[in-house]
């Protein structure tokens, strides 16, 4: 299966600092690649490199086999990538409804019906400012916005942060549906239980480097735990 999104020898960081070194990975259609690791190891930096917020010093990012180097985030979005950031995941000043429909052609909510069924909290708070939501609720809003974009490649940075377990299970179900429809996911996570439910492949990062790689069947849970915990 050809990879929807792949990255090779990715090296980069902020300013003169190099945060990630020589990272490789790929997610094919219908696959989830989970990137795990402690804080500060460079997971969010990897996402920023993949989506074009930071330039790659070495290496490249391939979307459907073609390099996207030099393209800014808005351009990558137009090519079919979705990104849900870890920090500041919603527009605090806009209502929940505006957050969902901002970049769509109209303000209709029909595309979101199935999501509202799973996350009724969003429908209840449609007219509220997103800034008044709790951290977990913001993450759910961001998650729904991202998945509803219906793009072939979805990048999620810690989607479950602050989210209650029952909603995490709903997220699992949504991701499973999208996988069946052929979307590729790269998900940064710190919740191992959630990662284990969704991941087809793993990439464990420590100090900006790949420490461990594997698939669901080959990965050693104990070693993963050792690299995630303090």
């Amino acid at each position: 299966m050809s990879a929807c999104l792949a990255f090779e020898n990715l090296t980069g960081g902020y300013g003169s600092t190099t945060i990630v070194r020589d990272l490789n990975g790929a997610a094919a259609a219908g696959e989830v690649l989970c990137v795990l690791g402690r804080n500060g190891v460079g997971k969010s930096t990897l996402m920023k490199l993949l989506f074009g917020y930071l330039p790659c010093r070495v290496g490249r990012v391939l979307l459907h086999g073609k390099s996207v180097d030099g393209l800014d985030p808005a351009a990558r979005r137009r090519l079919g990538m979705t990104f849900c950031p870890q920090e500041r995941p919603v527009f605090d000043d806009l209502s929940v409804r505006d957050n969902l429909t901002l970049m769509r052609n109209n303000r209709h909510l029909s595309p979101f019906r199935s999501y509202f069924a799973r996350f009724p909290i969003l429908e209840r708070r449609l007219t509220q400012h997103a800034g008044t939501l709790s951290g977990g609720e913001k993450k759910i809003l961001s998650f729904v916005r991202g998945l509803a974009e219906d793009q072939p490649v979805v990048l999620l940075d810690e989607p479950s942060e602050g989210v209650q377990w029952e909603n995490i299970l709903h997220m699992d179900a949504c991701i499973a549906e999208k996988k069946a429809a052929g979307a590729a996911f790269i998900v940064v996570e710190q919740n191992l239980a959630f990662a284990e439910r969704i991941a087809d492949r793993y990439l464990i990062v420590d100090q900006g480097r790949a420490i461990l790689e594997g698939t669901r069947s080959t990965i050693d849970r104990e070693r993963v735990l050792a690299h995630m915990h303090v």
């Binding site: 989506f51 917020y53 800014d72 985030p73 808005a74 979005r77 137009r78 990104f83 849900c84 950031p85 500041r88 995941p89 919603v90 527009f91 605090d92 000043d93 806009l94 505006d98 901002l102 970049m103 916005r145």
Partner: protein, 284 residues
């Protein structure tokens, strides 16, 4: 009602509403893009000179508006592209750059029209009986237009799609980009709206002010004081800033001299800067 009080009240309303419109362009650019466009006053000047030209060619006064908008729009687009965009992360350098721009526009106007004052005849001369007193028609029209422009812009910004997108871009540019918003285009559009609003203000006040290359300085400073007092975050702030500055100035100038009015406004602005740096309506 005592006709003198009515006249004074309408005078204050006139001062506040025209000040609000004149400050709007600066507020849009400073509040949304974080750029202090010192050349704001020069765009007002361009609008005023457009009115002068249209009148000297004996065309209907209203034609001055599209002419001013076209010129301010084109210059605004060019300026944002060449000078502002490369300097978004360097606020001090944009300050110097827009100061240089204001100098350039002034000198060009001086080269074309010379230093002398030009006067523009009032397009709607005469007075009308209003609330028991005789008041100039044109000023009443200006009040109406000013209120309409401010209200219209506020409503549009608050409820329209583009308005929401601009708000989103301003508060969270990374997320805006992630969702495919072209921050560059929105920023350029915002800047052009700011310069065009200034040009509109110039066309409006041209008949009532001496049109000369240095006229812009007064307007950019007053608009700036409105922003200091009113704060940058909201339209309510803009209006309250205009109310305070405009009201203060017209009351004191009516009682003493214009210089004292100016001095009082300056002291007030410094006090606000000192005590309430976020303005009357503190916006976090």
């Amino acid at each position: 009602m005592d006709p003198l009080i009515v006249t004074q009240a309408i005078n204050v309303l006139y001062a506040v509403s025209t000040l609000a419109v004149l400050a709007l362009g600066l507020a849009v650019i400073f509040g949304l893009l974080g750029v202090l466009n010192i050349a704001h006053g020069e765009f007002v000047m361009i609008g005023a000179y457009c009115a002068y030209l249209i009148q000297s060619w004996e065309w209907p006064y209203l034609v001055a508006l599209p002419l001013a908008l076209a010129i301010c729009g084109v210059i605004g687009w060019a300026v944002e592209w060449i000078m502002i965009r490369p300097l978004y992360r360097r606020p001090f350098d944009t300050l110097v750059a827009t100061w240089g721009l204001s100098l350039l526009l002034r000198k060009i106007a001086e080269g074309i029209f010379g230093l002398g004052f030009r006067s523009v005849a009032i397009p709607l001369p005469g007075t009308v009986d209003f609330l028991g007193t005789e008041y100039p028609i044109y000023r009443l029209v200006l009040i109406a237009i000013s209120l309409a422009v401010v209200a219209g812009l506020v409503i549009w910004y608050g409820s329209s799609r583009t308005g929401s997108r601009i708000r989103a871009m301003v508060s969270n540019p990374e997320l805006a980009q992630a969702q495919g918003m072209s921050v560059r285009q929105l920023a350029a559009g915002t800047f052009i709206v700011g310069t065009c609003l200034a040009g509109l203000g110039g066309v409006m006040i041209a008949p009532l002010a001496p049109v000369q290359p240095f006229m812009g300085l007064d307007y950019v400073l007053r608009a700036f004081f409105v922003l200091i007092v009113g704060g940058l975050g909201s339209v309510l702030g803009l209006v309250s800033g205009a109310a305070v500055i405009g009201g203060f100035d017209s009351v004191i100038s009516a009682v003493t001299t214009t210089t004292d009015g100016y001095f009082a406004v300056l002291v007030l602005a410094i006090l606000f800067l000192w005590l309430r740096p976020r303005g009357i309506i503190a916006h976090s």
